[in-house]
């Protein structure tokens, strides 16, 4: 074997390995997203039901532009363009005692409210170190966000 082809072999195998990583990740992503979305939807809906008697029902998943990973789980409530249209945000909020999954609702006027924590016992967020200051900060952030778009599947 000549010198250049000898050097090419590890490079080719490395590229093959990276391609293998890419295939594994793409396959895992496609295989898990449906169940993940269903689980997050169920958890958020349960929190909304505990928050309000006539809780809004989760609709299509939305995409908020230029906001990154934190706003990956956003859902529409009510019909598009209708008076009861709103948005539900499921996101990680960190208080004094670790990270939790918070659920927020933003109405058509752009006013946001905290609905509760998903996946924990009871409705008292302060018990989990989520203070009113933390909640206010997230409400302000959500109210500042632009209008979300339909998620492309």
């Amino acid at each position: 074997m000549t010198e250049p082809s000898k050097n090419m072999k590890p490079a080719a195998l490395t590229i093959l390995l990276f391609f293998g990583f890419f295939l594994a990740l793409a396959g895992a992503y496609l295989g898990t997203q449906e169940k993940t979305e269903a689980g997050i939807r169920a958890g958020a809906q349960k929190t909304l039901a505990a928050w309000k008697e006539n809780a809004p029902k989760l609709g299509d998943r939305l995409h908020v532009r230029k906001t990154g990973w934190s706003y990956a789980w956003v859902f529409r409530t009510g019909k598009k363009g209708a008076q009861n249209e709103g948005t539900v945000f499921v996101l990680r909020i960190t208080g004094n005692s670790g990270p939790y999954t918070g659920v927020f609702y933003k109405n058509k006027k752009g006013e946001a409210s905290f609905c509760g924590l998903a996946g924990v016992r009871g409705n008292d967020a302060s018990k989990y170190g989520i203070t009113s200051r933390v909640i206010s900060m997230w409400i302000a952030r959500i109210e500042r966000l632009g209008a979300p778009e339909e998620s492309k599947k």
Binding site: L17, L25, K35, T36, G39, G43, R92, T101, A118, G119
Partner: protein, 193 residues
């Protein structure tokens, strides 16, 4: 490894906000085990590939890929927990790299010595914090975390401070002092013998 305590504290620091619940501790301990297994596998692959100087970079990419795979698996198994813990899986990978990088001698020999004792320490730290800060013990479930009350009436007389990051650093300080004290005592006993 000359000073395990320091390496452990370095590796635990990025995870302090998350290891406040046993449920979180369990998820992150499984993540550590996963990184250990995939780390060994990737190391073996790299050894066979012989990419010379690129070896450590390929290993880093491999650990990043395995962290993403773990996040996707966590999303599939515990979707609600994946929202709160997603970022910390990557921080666990970072802690794993800190542990194996500090103990480079063990890494060079193909051994990941500090990782295995770190896992029970992570679990112990999370269970102590949860008991002192919430009076409960929790486990991860599909719908979030399942809490069991261990200390009744905690809401009335419990001190939630121990569940906070500030409380965690106090506990870490006490743990470091206790380990040092034990090590010095053992060293003195050996010198006397």
């Amino acid at each position: 490894m000359k000073n395990n305590t320091v390496a452990f504290l370095f590796a635990l620091c990025p995870l302090v906000p998350a290891v406040v619940r046993l449920a979180y501790g369990i998820v992150l301990a499984v993540a550590f085990l996963w990184f250990l297994l995939t780390g060994l596998g990737i190391r073996e692959l790299v050894r066979k590939l012989r990419p010379d100087d690129a070896g450590p970079y390929i290993e880093m990419v491999g650990i990043a890929a395995s962290a993403t795979l773990f996040t996707l698996a966590l999303q599939w198994l515990c979707p609600i927990l994946s929202v709160s813990l997603g970022l910390y899986v990557y921080l666990t990978a970072f802690s794993f790299i800190i542990l194996v990088s500090i103990d480079y001698g063990s890494l060079k020999n193909g051994l990941f010595i500090p990782v295995l004792p770190f896992i029970p320490m992570l679990l112990a730290f999370s269970v102590i914090r949860e008991l002192l800060g919430f009076g409960t013990v929790s486990i991860p479930t599909i719908t979030g975390i399942l809490e069991f009350t261990v200390i009744p009436g905690f809401e009335f007389w419990g001190l939630g401070f121990w569940g906070t990051a500030a409380g965690a650093f106090f506990l870490l300080g006490v743990a470091a002092w206790l380990i040092k004290f034990r090590q010095r005592k053992a060293f003195a006993a050996r010198r006397q013998a």
